[in-house]
């Protein structure tokens, strides 16, 4: 059975306050049956240096991706993974991670493609939990195996593929990368590896709103009024827009997808996970360079 939602007043302005929990709420509910906490980090070893007591590790790179096809695991693979972690279909799954929850948001998006009914993010992620001096442990949880059902992944509502983005040109697109990546001056994040795009720039018509605009200093999400100012005031989105978000491989844009879909409540937001590593290398697709959309 799903756990109660976090009644924290600061979440109540968001369109879907039940998608977030605070560190205080999580600390109170850690022992509750029906809850599984999962850590998803950029660094594959960070969990092993210490994690929230009872949390399982969920690695975006080695577990959520199919090892052969450039795609996520299928329904059977997801069921196997969730069962191994002791997660049931009726589990309240709380995800958190490093880097302002990039990878946790990515994992949440993938879980949502499989329609997991109750999956939430820990607002502020690993950084806030640690900054508050809350406990971390290297003890590995002993969760009994569960029997997660095989559910087909539904890519039709929340995920965009390259050709869908081509036919979307002219409608709202948000590029969440750094300004240098957007203009084409840089082919990768500042201080990050070149991940193999042969051209720099952005998808024609995309507005640049770096993902980090949505995060406050303590890694929590900004209040709804500020988010509205950024995405509607500055970037010109409207709540009924059909929006596609993208970045480099789809992880930073999962963070923005979460903001637009759950915090601002836009019904039609898709994440283009092929992102710039696909678009910037594709034969025959147009790009735009420079500061203009």
């Amino acid at each position: 059975m799903a756990l109660p939602q976090d009644p924290a007043p600061r979440f109540q302005d968001y369109a879907r306050p039940e998608k977030l929990v605070s560190t205080g709420w999580l600390a109170e509910h850690l022992e509750d049956p029906g809850l599984v906490v999962a850590e998803s980090d950029e660094d594959v070893l960070l969990y092993d240096t210490g994690h929230i007591p009872g949390a399982v590790k969920l690695d975006w790179h080695t577990e959520l991706n199919d090892p052969v096809t450039r795609d996520y695991v299928d329904g059977a693979g997801f069921a196997r993974l969730m069962s191994e972690k002791g997660i049931s279909r009726d589990t309240t799954l709380v995800l958190y991670g490093d880097r302002n929850n990039w990878w946790a948001a990515y994992a949440l998006w993938v879980c949502t493609l499989f329609g997991h009914p109750d999956v939430r993010l820990l607002d502020g992620g690993r950084a806030k939990w640690g900054a508050e001096g809350r406990p971390l442990t290297t003890d590995l949880p002993q969760r009994p195996r569960s029997d997660y059902p095989v559910v087909d992944r539904d890519d039709s509502q929340l995920r965009a593929f390259r050709d869908q983005v081509r036919s979307h040109l002219g409608k709202p697109l948000i590029d969440v990368r750094s300004p240098g990546e957007y203009t084409g001056e840089l082919l990768h994040m500042p201080d990050y590896p070149q991940e193999g795009a042969v051209r720099g720039g952005h998808i024609p018509g995309a507005r640049n709103v770096p993902w980090s605009r949505a995060a406050a200093e303590d890694a929590t999400f900004r209040p709804r009024s500020e988010l509205t100012g950024i995405y509607e005031g500055e970037a010109g989105l409207r709540p009924d827009d059909d929006v596609v978000v993208y970045c480099r491989i789809g992880e930073r844009s999962s963070h923005t997808w979460f903001v637009l879909h759950y915090l601002l409540g836009y019904p039609q937001v898709r994440n283009y996970d092929g992102s710039w590593t696909e678009w910037g290398n594709s034969v025959g697709v147009p790009i735009t360079q420079g500061e203009k959309p």
Binding site: V44, L45, L46, T49, H61, T62, D98, P193, E195
Partner: protein
């Protein structure tokens, strides 16, 4: 000369990794991570004297000193919240620090693929180690003029 051989110390590290099962390999990488020696003061207080390695997922800084006797000493710095990057640095430190510079130059650039970590850590993350080694070699060549 084509670089094809691992020195005995680096070979020992590779054998340590490939001699254990997959889960123990990650535990071993974590041990390496914890064992990365702290920086001497001349770098700890002067990070600007170190070279950043942007190919690593998390910030890593390295420095190389080629001594008069032709041996090379390696220094690395990466934050505790980047244990994988620290682990990679520590492997290079354990396998190469203090060796004759020529031996380091002869280390195959793709040796990281021999550690048995590709499936556990992902090829993307492993790229950082190859980049560190490439920069170490370049610094050695630069310093020797």
């Amino acid at each position: 000369m084509t670089a094809t051989t691992l020195g005995p110390r680096l070979q020992e590290v590779v054998d340590d990794f490939t001699g254990v099962g997959e889960q123990d390999r990650l535990a071993l990488l974590l041990e390496f991570s914890a064992g990365l020696p702290p920086l001497p003061a001349r770098y700890a207080e002067h990070r600007d004297r170190m070279e950043p390695v942007p190919e690593c997922q998390s910030p890593l800084f390295l420095a190389v000193e080629v001594a008069a006797d032709g041996t090379a000493h390696l220094f690395f710095d990466a934050p505790p919240e980047a244990p994988t990057t620290r682990g990679f640095a520590s492997i290079l430190q354990a396998g190469l620090d203090g060796l004759p510079a020529d031996d380091i130059l002869a280390t195959p650039g793709e040796f990281s693929s021999q550690l048995g970590l590709t499936g556990l850590v992902s090829p993307l993350r492993l790229r950082g180690m190859a980049a560190m080694l490439a920069r170490i070699k370049r610094q050695i060549r630069d310093q020797r003029g």
